[in-house]
């Protein structure tokens, strides 16, 4: 039972608490909600002939997306994102799973090893891949020295180069998401499954996979969404050959100065994202993305 002293003090405390939250509300209003509303409004306005926008309502920007050339960009982006997410899942899930089974020291070491590269700017790390992948670069030298290939592979500025870059940039999100889920798992459940007659594979699919599903799905979201929009990876490693929704938005905004269309593209991308998070919520019954906090 709460003491009387406690109940008397609560209103005052909560009033103060309310006041301390004001900066947070202001921050959210000005820096998060404001730009969102601005973008939404912008996406329904008309592009001016030379510069800026005319405040005139139109659906044209959204209809524009359905032009084959733009629609194709969406489809290509989705394909690339699916491919990358699939590869990341194949590598990241076992990685995160086995990481959770390490000794406490091993876990600490692996977490550090995953985090340390992040102290370097992502662009710089990406340029590192240019050195590795470029014609006559590190990879070519190694392969030719081992007599596995006769001439340079010319990997840079190709689709596979973009995939490699994406997988590299996003892999640790999947690993950490799966790890945080697997770390919390009660491994005696796997023993119980074995005891009840499950083979190691059956125990994995009926117990481990089910219980690490929140981490797995969260990892999928954390990799799928960014891989639709990480235009600089496509730009740097793919030359101009691979155009993503992210690149398209950037081009429309900075090169074509078609702000309303860029806004409409962004809104659609955001809707896709929300849809995925909504699905995650439905499946896992939580709003918290595993591995993010």
């Amino acid at each position: 039972m709460p003491s009387r002293k406690n109940t008397r003090r609560t209103p005052l405390t909560s009033r103060w608490m309310g006041l301390t939250l004001v900066p947070l509300y202001l921050f959210t209003l000005v820096l998060v909600l404001g730009p969102l509303v601005y973008m939404l409004v912008l996406s329904f306005e008309t592009r001016a002939d030379v510069w800026g926008v005319i405040p005139q309502f139109t659906w044209a920007n959204y209809k524009n997306i359905f032009q084959p050339v733009y629609l194709n960009t969406f489809v290509q982006s989705l394909k690339l994102a699916l491919l990358c997410t699939g590869l990341i899942l194949l590598v990241g899930y076992p990685f995160g799973y086995f990481m959770a089974r390490l000794s406490p020291r091993g876990k600490k070491f692996m977490t550090a090893a995953l985090m340390i590269p992040f102290w370097t700017n992502s662009l710089i790390r990406l340029y590192g891949w240019i050195i590795v992948l470029r014609s006559g670069g590190t990879l070519d030298k190694v392969l030719m020295a081992l007599h596995l290939t006769q001439r340079p592979l010319k990997l840079l500025y190709t689709y596979p180069a973009v995939v490699v870059g994406m997988v590299y940039a996003l892999l640790q999100f999947m690993i950490l998401a799966v790890y945080s889920s697997a770390e919390k798992m009660d491994w005696s459940l796997v023993e119980a499954a074995r005891d009840l007659g499950a083979s190691p594979a059956q125990a994995f699919f009926t117990v481990t996979l089910k219980l690490t599903m929140p981490g797995l799905l969260s990892g999928v979201i954390l990799t799928f969404i960014p891989s639709m929009g990480l235009f600089f990876i496509a730009d740097i490693l793919g030359g101009n050959k691979v155009v993503l929704v992210g690149s398209l938005i950037q081009d429309q905004l900075l090169q074509a100065h078609n702000w309303p269309f860029a806004a409409a593209l962004s809104v659609v991308l955001m809707l896709l994202t929300s849809l995925m998070i909504g699905l995650y919520k439905r499946v896992t019954h939580t709003t918290r993305l595993e591995g993010l906090l």
């Binding site: 119980a192 074995r194 005891d195 009840l196």
Partner: protein
Amino acid sequence: MSQTILQLQNIEKSFDGTPVLRGISLDAAAGEFITLLGSSGCGKTTTLRIIAGLECPDAGRVLLEGRDVTGTPPEKRDVNTVFQNYALFPHMTVAANIGYSLKLRRRPNEDIAKAVAQALELVQLTGYENRMPAQLSGGQKQRVAIARALVNRPRVLLLDEPLGALDLQLRRQMQLELKALQQQLGITFIYITHDQEEALTMSDRIAVMRDGQFVQIGTPAQVYDEPRTSFVARFVGSANILQGTVVAAGHPGGLVTARVAGCPVCARAGQTEFLPGQPIALALRSEQVDFAPEGSGIPAVVKEKSFAGGMLRIALELPDGSRLVASRHGIDQSLAPGQKLCVRCAPEAAVPVEVDD
């Protein structure tokens, strides 16, 4: 007893160089209720995990119905476990938990539903099919865990302190239910506990464990009345251990007289040969310490009195400085700390034991 179901032969096991089991052997008959009794860290759980196949022994063999299963994985053993923390699958309903092993064996759905309903009836949880484990109380989880382990009718059921997390009243009730269940199904139970009362209530045989070894294996009456060592006497009946010297040697099966704290005490000699002058340790249960008239028995001084669980505990000091605990039913007003009295015991009450602690 009928045929042997489970045999452990000289099982040894170490973890990181620390020996946990030092060569234990045990035969369990069909339908027998065997309790492994010991304090935590004595190797009880490791023994159980080796029987289940969750751990592999360094040396020794496990035989199930005469077949060597030492290297057989847990899923291929006709043994099921009730885990200490229940280990119910949190993402499955009660029915799915219980039916899990049947589903793995691809039994038709109707059969599974029927078996699950039967198992739930057995543990008196009919109607709980669609609950999730998180919605159950501790006692209910316990029952589901038992139902899940029993649904396959294994040859041997392993229970790792299954009642440890329950409150005393529920615990007593579950003890009786488990015993009844075991007798009804005729399944061999290997039951772990550190509670000597629980072991004495439920078991056909008790294996007292200490430091990875069985100190004594016997019926509750044997372990209680004829403890082999001072550890068993203290652990199972919280007995007094009196140190003395043999004065008059009796022949095996007769009586032996020892000098304890300067006074003669008679004890059962059992099957052991005693020689005069030899040191001897006698186990004497607190309720068998009698008070004697002045001038007979051993003089003692009352040091402390406490009342717990319907029993009055009286701590006494003997002339040689050793302590002796006597107990009586009800509150005795006549004793006070500092009071001098004399104690003695009936000859059949004191049992010679090997000193091992």
